[in-house]
């Protein structure tokens, strides 16, 4: 089974965010709540709807994630598009979320 996270863009500034276990939004993929594909994942996506209505985010959707090979739980983006969304432009390492991280 593949794990999924919910991602969206924040309404005020368009930044990429992820849904956390506390049903808040984080800029860090590794802070996201994971759910197994299927009913669990759909329920997680459904729970993001409240944030859409509260005008926190737009267009939430599910993304499959891998878990880090070393610790078996830290989520990692799958595919080029979501990797770039999670980090920032691959040609400007000084910009996007990657700039804030070490």
């Amino acid at each position: 089974m593949t794990s999924h996270a919910v991602t969206a863009n924040r309404l005020t500034d368009g930044q990429v965010v992820y849904l956390t276990p506390a049903r808040t939004w984080s800029e860090k993929l590794h802070a996201s709540q994971l759910a197994e594909a299927g009913d669990d994942a759909n329920a997680l996506l459904q729970s993001a709807q409240a944030s859409v209505e509260a005008r926190l985010v737009v267009e939430p959707y599910l993304i499959p994630v891998d878990t880090d090979a070393t610790d078996g739980q830290t989520p990692r983006a799958v595919g080029r598009r979501e990797t770039i969304r999670a980090a920032g432009p691959s040609v400007r390492l000084d910009l996007g979320h990657q700039a804030a991280q070490e």
């Binding site: 368009g14 990429v16 737009v58 080029r80 969304r85 920032g88 432009p89 040609v91």
Partner: protein, 551 residues
Amino acid sequence: MYRYDEFDHTVVAERVLQFRGQVARRLSGDLTEDEFKPLRLMNGLYLQLHAYMLRVAIPYGMLSSRQMRKLAFVARRYDKGYGHFTTRQNIQYNWPRLDEAADILDELATVEMHAIQTSGNTIRNVTADPFAGVAADEIEDPRIYAEIIRQWSTLHPEFSFLPRKFKIAVTGAPHDRAAIKTHDIGIALKRGPDGETGFEVFVGGGQGRTPVVAKSIRGFLPKRDLLSYLEAILRVYNQLGRRDNIYKARIKILVNEIGVEKFTALVEEEWRHLRDGALALPDDEIARIKAYFASPAYLDIPGDVPEFDSKLLTDPAFGNWVGSNVTEHKVPGYAIVTVSLKPEGGIPGDATAEQMEAIADLADAFSFGELRVTKDQNLVLADIRKSDLFALWQGLRAHGLETPNAGLLTDIIACPGLDYCSLANARSIPIAQRIGTRFGDLDRLRDIGDITLNISGCINACAHHHVGNIGILGVDKKGTEFYQVTLGGSADENTTIGDIVGPAFGEDDIVDAIETIVDTYLGLRTDGETFIDTYRRVGLAPFKETLYAAR
């Protein structure tokens, strides 16, 4: 340059106020995203991968130094210190906030700029030859007519909800630097039977997933009929263009489906009713607009400038830059300068706020305070005295703006691709950077000569890859980036769509493939042949062979 009249000012000011209200209603919850999205798009605000993106119109690419400084200010204050100049002669900001978008538009309005009709199914920003008014080969200044079209098409009530976006380009010179045949309508100034100037009208060009070269539907159109004829074309399209399928909605599809003869007949019929109506352009209206584009106060100076000639000999780096980035001007003693936004390993079309300010200062010092943006994602200083070229070059060099590669292989045109764009299949910029670095050697670059290389991150073809001499298209194969190569495209008066060479190349092989193509050309060319000349003579086969033989 054109200056806004009261009407323009009022329209723009009202529009910003309206948009401010719409943003406030979105933030307060009175508008849902579905309701708001079309409204923000009408004001040039997209949502991309990492943030919003704001596209600002630069009518036919013309900017005053004052406007350029404002663009720099916006980049610094509201964005991340840079902007991206595009193939549509516009600028895009990659990181604006929604809650500051109206403030940005207010700032832009102070210098007569806006984002109206930079998105949506409207007539988009009109583009033109970046050498307008100064090219030695020009029949008449295309900006006069581009401006007339801008005024007619801005907030045109009948054409605010066309079947699809609509792009118009104008050239005043026989050598087309505006790629008019890749536009929905292309207009070329032309001399008529009695020596008077008018237009040849081309329709149905386009790129995207169905690239088409525009076809001539009228060999000669008198000036007074420009707007009535355009109105007739737009009416036929608005009525018959398909609205059921976004991929078949552009005018090129309509022209292909009903045939160019039928399409032309419909336009001519519609035009008969419009021709002598309110849209007929009186001479004094043309003269009024023309006055805005009057030549600056050129000095009566000799064409030969000995101090320039001697600098060419004593400073080879300067000589190299002059060789590629300086073009003949219609007035003796002056020159046209292309400022390359393609430094080796850089991001094509990006400029920092500091660079924008530096170039605005140089425009004030040396070029009557004016600048242009080109469809090749470079900038132009159009009126430089030859005796000032050396000082200008030094000024550019202080800001990394002296790359001597205009028109050469590393003058790569690239869209934002998967690094920014939510529609992308693959990255464009890193490929451009790697090709730029591979071909960094200037002697080699100059030996290769004139060539265009265009890279798009998906089939929408924002970087014109179909009409690049070498075109690269990013595709996605099961989550991995691949690059399809086309050869033989061109975007000038002999516009052609490139031919696909064969299977796509992986990320690790694409730069080698480009080198193989270039080496194949070098091996085949005869004296004086450019890449496109050789390609047209020998065709695809030899390139296919060298590219795939070893595989």
